[in-house]
Symmetry: C2
Subunit: 175 residues, 2 copies
DNA sequence: TATTGTTATACTCTATAACTATA
DNA sequence: TATAGTTATAGAGTATAACAATA
């Protein structure tokens, strides 16, 4: 399974992905239960709460959502829930300026303590002070580097999707 | 935004989640393009390829999928695509034994090089040898600790979902 | 009774493509 | 022409609950 590949890297990678996967799942549960929002929505709100002023949709999306329509969808939900507002931007009439409302800020404040509690229990309780420092330094570097990477230049499709093959195997569609 | 909370922890946490989020997105793209599978499906196949023999559905799910039905769904796709087979288990007739097929192994082998390439580019290129070692040690510990954690004991729902509020705000339904 | 797995169903989310409007 | 954002739509994935069968 590791033909010619560095097994130390692979092991680290799998551990990282699974650890974060489990963490993510717990965090989603907490946010849904205590705030009625998803992690993506939390990220968007947190970002707006942290920013000095309003952000454009494009700025807001960076590193969180990977399609324009996906962000429009989430922004629509958040706006209808009264957590953000959308307005126009005098400097560039194409852009939409997104602001967090007082309700939005309140929700972040309401959800954050429990959120931190979960991350403590699942993440930081296993970390020494030194680990924390090192992990912070590492992941900040990785994030900044990864953000800058171009979206993978579509490799040739060598094989059909598992779902497609599944569709074939099922003799279903009306000829 | 960090009232009474440790900003160092919060910063590390956000960096971790965003870095892995971006990594995850690139990885999904690579797997879809070169293997026609999702990351969840890759995880399941990799786990089966790594195991000595077949695994039960429950063993297979651990840390990857969080509902029985979710796993049944994925297993259904993988089986119809010819990448796994499901059989019964003599020792416990309730269980289902999942085995990876030669095709499944071949697919993992086909996808893995490109997969490693992506993780190199997005993750390991930013890491020193020391970082790699440290990160591996940390995340293995975190994963094992997190896996053992009980699923959050449902906190009281204090607020309605953003989606629900959105549904209300839209005067749609037939009176 | 508890556990393993499946099925039916409803819902959330994401991405693609077509479109509008502004730079 | 390129960029910002929205809309329509289709598809993948997830979770809940009800179910069957075995321990």
């Amino acid at each position: 399974m590791t033909d010619g590949l560095d097994p130390r890297e692979l092991g680290t990678y799998f551990a990282l992905m699974e650890a974060v996967g489990v963490l993510q799942h717990h965090v989603e549960q907490q946010l849904r239960a205590e705030g009625g929002i998803s992690y993506v929505q939390f990220q968007l709100l947190a970002r707006l709460a942290d920013a000095d002023g309003p952000l454009t949709m494009t700025q807001l999306a960076d590193g969180v959502v990977y399609s324009r329509s996906g962000l429009t969808y989430q922004a629509g939900l958040l706006e209808k829930a009264g957590l953000i507002t959308r307005g126009s931007f005098a400097q560039d009439e194409r852009a939409t300026l997104v602001s967090i409302t007082d309700e939005g800020r309140a929700l972040v404040g309401q959800v954050l303590p429990g959120h931190v509690q979960v991350t403590r229990r699942l993440l930081f309780d296993s970390l020494s002070d030194d680990d924390l420092q090192h992990l912070g330094a590492i992941m900040t570097r990785v994030r900044d580097h990864a953000r800058a990477q171009p979206p993978r230049s579509a490799a040739p499709r060598k094989r059909r999707a598992a779902a497609d093959a599944a569709a074939d195997a099922a003799p279903d569609s009306p000829e």
